[in-house]
């Protein structure tokens, strides 16, 4: 090979190799260990080396509780382990660890949506006796009763509440003020506001909702259906309500927002929606409250100071908002071989008063009286939102039906399935599941 050809080949090879490598630049990581607080964790340690494995997804609202437990309860021969994981990973690992006689995890993060199914299957340890025994030591009587109820099934408590998450609207106050807009209280007002923002600013897609086709989209449908006064199922007649006019209206309401949202919205989960707000690509978004504090941090966005918060709108007017409340808590798997009292003291310490206070403003703690205007920038919105929430559906089949209808809701929203056909398919899928519980 001649020298010039060799040089050309070398240059081409270097360019090719750099182009393969260049996309690897810029990766980073974020840990939240600095959110740990030191609290009392006075369990009786077992003899010998003991490892307690904790399963909890990472988010700014759950991390403070997890990190507090890990740092405060690791002592002597007892080590509390927590590996970072996202929400999807937690869902998969929860199923796997609770499946057999022995599991990988000794403490798991659970939420009100899954408690009925897991409790009905006998996968979780009832906590009532332990709550009674340790109530004074960890001040558990201050935990909100409604939240405890949300983590109960058939009259028994299966998850010790740590925090609640409700839907909140975050909006750009500077944009709204400039255009003389008020935070919308209905979907109609939301569409009008979006239209005005589109017409008078550079923001092409003013509304940002997490509508990820494989997960969040069903939460959105459920919130819309709830706002229209309809539940997924009727537990008395054991029938589904998914082919009702309200169900069709809920889907149409979500479809009506599409002209104001990014065309790729069915690929957006909550972090992607946060990113839209950080970038200034959207002027209003509706997400769970646990995601709101991130929007106020200047390290995340140049628009942090312009973020304002309101309760989400209702779909069609009325008192029930486009909303759903999820209570997060700690549960003890029935298949853990470790001492249940020790594990309970660990989870109780992580929701103690000191730990709960330290979780503010990222989380909405389960303890009464903690959320005030001074402790949380979106306190008013959160308190209004939680007071106007559709009724919960604490039945073992709720999660199963939600999973089953997720691809159908997604198919309707991307326009592949007509609304009418979609509601029929959803009804059939739900009825099939209900038949197994009859």
């Amino acid at each position: 090979m001649s020298t010039s050809r060799r040089r050309t080949a070398a240059a081409a090879a270097v360019v090719a190799s750099l182009s393969l490598v260049v996309t690897g630049c810029g990766a980073g990581s974020k840990t939240a260990s600095k959110t740990a607080t030191q609290v009392e964790c006075d369990y009786t340690a077992p003899s010998g080396e003991t490892k307690v494995n904790v399963l909890a997804y990472n988010s700014s609202s759950v991390d403070p509780y997890t990190n507090t437990m890990v740092s405060s309860c690791t002592k002597g021969d007892v080590t509390v382990n927590h590996e970072p994981i996202d929400f999807g990973g937690q869902v998969q690992k929860t199923t796997a660890t609770l499946a057999g006689d022995k599991g990988t995890y000794d403490i798991i993060e659970t939420y009100s949506f899954v408690i009925p199914q897991l409790a009905a299957d006998g996968k979780l340890e009832p906590l009532d006796e332990l709550v009674e025994k340790y109530s004074d030591e960890y001040g558990l009587d201050a935990i909100n009763e409604n939240m405890s109820e949300a983590m109960s099934y058939d009259g028994k408590l299966y998850g010790l509440p740590m925090q609640a998450q409700m839907l909140i609207m975050a909006y750009r106050e500077d944009v709204f003020d400039k255009l003389g807009l008020e935070p919308p209280t209905t979907f109609e007002e939301m569409r009008s506001a979006a239209e005005k923002i589109q017409a008078e600013t550079d923001i092409e897609y003013p509304i940002a909702l997490p509508l990820l086709a494989s997960a969040d989209i069903v939460t959105a449908y459920d919130a819309a259906l709830g706002s229209l006064g309809m539940n997924l199922t009727d537990p008395d007649t054991m029938t589904a309500n998914l082919d009702t006019p309200e169900s069709a209206k809920a889907l149409e309401a979500l479809i009506s927002l599409k002209p104001y949202m990014d065309p790729q919205v069915t690929t957006f989960d909550q972090p992607a929606v946060q990113q839209q707000m950080y970038n200034g690509d959207a002027a209003m978004s509706i997400m769970f409250s646990g995601r709101m504090n991130d929007l106020t941090l200047e390290s995340n966005s140049q628009f942090a100071q312009d973020m304002a918060f309101a309760a989400p709108p209702s779909v069609d007017g009325g008192d029930v908002l486009y909303n759903t409340v999820s209570v997060d808590g700690w549960s003890i798997p029935a298949n853990t071989p470790l001492d249940k009292e020790m594990l309970f003291e660990m989870i109780a310490s992580s929701v103690s008063e000191k730990a709960s206070k330290a979780s503010l403003p990222a989380a909405y703690p389960a303890r009464d009286g903690m959320v005030t205007e001074s402790s949380m920038p979106f306190a008013a919105a959160a308190n209004e939102s939680i007071s106007k929430v559709p009724p919960s559906e604490p039945y073992p089949w709720t999660a199963e039906i939600s999973n089953a209808i997720t691809p159908i809701v997604a198919s309707v929203l991307v326009g592949k399935t007509p609304v009418e056909e979609g509601t029929q398919k959803m009804q059939a899928a739900a009825e099939k599941i209900l038949a197994e519980y009859k």
Binding site: M1, R5, R6, A9, A10, A12, A13, V14, A16, S17, L18, L20, V21, T23, G24, G26, A27, Q92, T95, A96, L98, A99, G100, D101, L212, A213, S214, D262, P263, Q264, T266, T267, F268, D269, A272, Q275, Q276, N279, D281, E400, N403, A404, T406, P407, A410, S411, V414, K416, A429, I433
Partner: protein, 289 residues
């Protein structure tokens, strides 16, 4: 080699292979004939899972998508891998450094590589490539929701991740081509293209076959890139067979391990069919020796 020596050397390997290959394979076939709930013994249902698999058009759609993607990407890998290998093979002292750089995409975990790759195209996270295309053409490409744009994105990412492997193997093959036949071709007046097509490529046919074999096996099982690059794969018709198995076994409507296992068995059969020409070639070569 004595029997005892053979047993000592081969024993551990056979044991590990049995544990990691045969046992899971046996379980998969067993579960494909059962209704299985996590943590409970399965209930025999005969061929019900297979009937259910074939009654849903999603399987056929996933199979067509996967096979088309596999054949296309394998063809690109062979051609681009060959060209890159020729370029690298012609390098002097820089060769080890360039080879090292080129191998970076191969050693990055697929899911991480795919997420980083997405940042080049997703406007929400910068999207340099999308920005440049939009500035130059005025066209906004919806990489994650437009079926064909997403397919191209997936193909590019898989090629990006697997090209180093193809290149590395072909470089090794090129180094084995005797100088004499290259000299002879030169003396016969063969052009550069003719030398490659008629002399070098036939000389490394076995190596290219090996690259094709490994590429087919890898691409037909594609999963990780779809998780990062195609969040609405099901809705836009870009669901691979592996993603379909994952959705059925772990996601949609709970956990249907029986049906997932049945589709897995069908996938194994598909892989064997796709690899048959290569396996037959290897067997023939072994016979002639």
């Amino acid at each position: 080699m004595r029997r005892r020596e053979f047993a000592m050397f081969a024993g551990p390997s056979i044991l590990v292979m049995s544990g990691l290959l045969l046992l899971p394979l046996y379980r998969t076939v067993q579960w494909s004939l059962q209704k299985v709930d996590y943590g409970s013994p399965g209930e025999f249902v005969g061929l019900d899972n297979y009937r259910q698999a074939f009654s849903n058009s999603r399987l056929a759609d996933a199979a067509v998508f996967t096979v088309t993607l596999t054949l296309l990407v394998t063809a690109v890998l062979l051609v681009a891998g060959y060209v890159l290998a020729v370029l690298v093979n012609g390098l002097g002292r820089a060769k080890p450094y360039v080879l090292g750089l080129l191998l970076v995409p191969y050693v990055i975990p697929h899911i991480v590589g795919a997420s980083m790759f997405l940042w080049l195209f997703n406007s929400n996270y910068g999207g340099v490539v999308t920005y440049v295309i939009e500035k130059l053409t005025g066209v906004e490409i919806l990489w994650m929701t437009d079926t064909w744009a997403n397919r191209i994105l997936l193909a590019m990412n898989i090629t990006w991740a697997m090209l180093p492997f193809a290149m590395l193997i072909i470089v090794a093959g090129l180094q084995g081509v005797p100088d004499e036949i290259l000299e002879a071709a030169k003396m016969d007046g063969a052009s550069l293209i003719r030398t490659h097509l008629s002399v070098i490529v036939p000389s490394i046919r076995g190596v290219l076959g090996f690259v094709a074999l490994i590429s087919i096996m890898d691409v037909v099982r594609v999963f990780d890139p779809l998780v990062a690059l195609s969040p609405s794969a099901v809705q836009i018709g870009n669901e691979s067979i592996m993603l379909y198995i994952y959705n059925v076994a772990f996601r949609d409507g709970g956990q249907n391990l029986g049906l997932g296992s049945a589709i897995n068995v069908l996938l194994i059969i598909l892989i064997v069919i796709l690899l048959f020409p290569f396996i037959r070639g290897v067997a023939k070569e072994a016979k002639t020796r």
